[in-house]
Symmetry: C2
Subunit: 346 residues, 2 copies
Amino acid sequence: MRATFMYGAGDVRIETIPDAVIHQSTDAVVRVTRSCVCGSDLHPYRGLPATPEGTTMGHEFVGIVEEAGSEVTTVRKGDFVIAPFAWSDGTCEFCREGLHTSCAHGGFWNDGNGTLGGQAEAVRVPQADGTLVKVPGITEDSASLPSLLTLSDVYGTGYHAAKRAKVTKGDTVAVIGDGAVGLLAVLSAKQLGAERIILMGRHKDRTDLGVEFGATDVVPERGEEGIAKVLELTGGLGARKVLEAVGHMPAYEQSVGIVRPGGIISRVGVPQYDQGPIGWSFFGKNTTLTGGPAPVRAYIEELLPGVLDGTVDPGKVFDRTVGLEEVPDGYKAMNDRTALKVLVRP
Amino acid sequence: MRATFMYGAGDVRIETIPDAVIHQSTDAVVRVTRSCVCGSDLHPYRGLPATPEGTTMGHEFVGIVEEAGSEVTTVRKGDFVIAPFAWSDGTCEFCREGLHTSCAHGGFWNDGNGTLGGQAEAVRVPQADGTLVKVPGITEDSASLPSLLTLSDVYGTGYHAAKRAKVTKGDTVAVIGDGAVGLLAVLSAKQLGAERIILMGRHKDRTDLGVEFGATDVVPERGEEGIAKVLELTGGLGARKVLEAVGHMPAYEQSVGIVRPGGIISRVGVPQYDQGPIGWSFFGKNTTLTGGPAPVRAYIEELLPGVLDGTVDPGKVFDRTVGLEEVPDGYKAMNDRTALKVLVRP
């Protein structure tokens, strides 16, 4: 079968590898019907050191179960399934608390231990019962595939940002970042009842989609100017909730600058830094910092009905579709910002 | 009147200054019956650069109202009052939310703008209606004065750590630091129903008091060894809630090391650093960081009944009493760790 590998910054190749097969009785093999390129894939695309052995790529996919191991009980051959970006057993104490990304027996795709990536024709899925969510009535050509695919990561991640920030009815929320996660954090904040949603981003086609998703204000300014603008919009006080969907230090610094005293910064952009300001500028106003890798598995059942009945259309974040062989072009387009998010149709 | 000044590291002097008087109609003048030296006073005691003009000291006091401004309605001459370590109007939107340390018209003692310190014979209290809490039936010789004085800072601050961490029935809590705030964070966690309270500290006389306040385990080890010990005590997972009552980087690093995935680190030790690790080691397990200067004013009414009826005896943190002229000795004793917390009887 064909699968995507990265060998270093900017070096993405599609290669032939042995077909995905069951290793353990709790595995399933899923034939991928839609996958995509993630904003977080751009971090290695920009900075991965040369890696002679390469690494498989992709952690978002939906597809049809090809085969299920003997112990798998919740899905079987032919079922349409959504795969979250982390696999998990669904039974450990962390999963029971809804923190599937800390599952005691789980892990992530492309982990270097035999779990390969989703930008491929098929994937072996460990802990299939805990990981996969079956959606009856969906075929491999359903119009809702793009929106269903967002439940695999970006929608659940935006929702995690909003949930961790405890966004509630009437809230004032600032969202930093106009990538797919930022835009879906806007959608999530809106769903949770936020009254004022300030989107910080400077790509008009993206912020336009943010406005469609519920943003009430758009702030293209950055740095001190951006902070001043948000303070001006919030009566000098700042936003009660800040959803940080970028992962770079300027976005974190912006968060600290615009959060209201007693407010919450919820990060879902994977931090590309180790140290950050948490001294008096942060502590003095009783700021809370939260967030992390989103346990999207915990949110699928909650978000699925709105996707299926068309109340929300998170799939709008996809603005380009490529075949598997064109995945390298997809990376380039996202890196060049000529595409917001690239759908892959293997 | 006599008041305490600091002129640089280790240089504390008692000097004569003009008597405290009303400046604004919302002020009161309080004659101090008990004050004390705070762990946070040791930060300048160790590091304040030489300051020729000096700065007044002390932010914890109880006393008797000597005079109240014409607009003050809640206290009058002769009332016994507790003064929180921040003054606040009690009416702005932050005060109404219980975040009095961010009061729109409030501030801190020794602010360099005419608000002087509590290690003195008397203090001018701005925003007296919002700031002071009258306690009927208390005289200047009541046995409960030390415990009442803890409501001015250390008890409310320990309680803030526990409240911000959302300590709840059955919780596993680790407290870092065996100073007065750490010990009262133990007491607070116990009051809020924590089942397991691990106190990290290595001064046996102090941790013994911690055990009396409710600690179930004492971990004297620090650094990697301390982290390993707490992980061992918590089945390898870490503590759900970590209350950090020190303010130095090793204590923060310890917090990150011992917090359970999905857990909360609540800091009330004023951070003596600007940058700290908030990258993958923190983010990867969906850690929450919260805390800040405690709005102790918000907690006084809630904590007062237990102090008055003797259910709790937070005043036990005081293990030495000095007169105002001996305050420099009090600083030295706390800095040398021959005293846990020094009570001042002007």
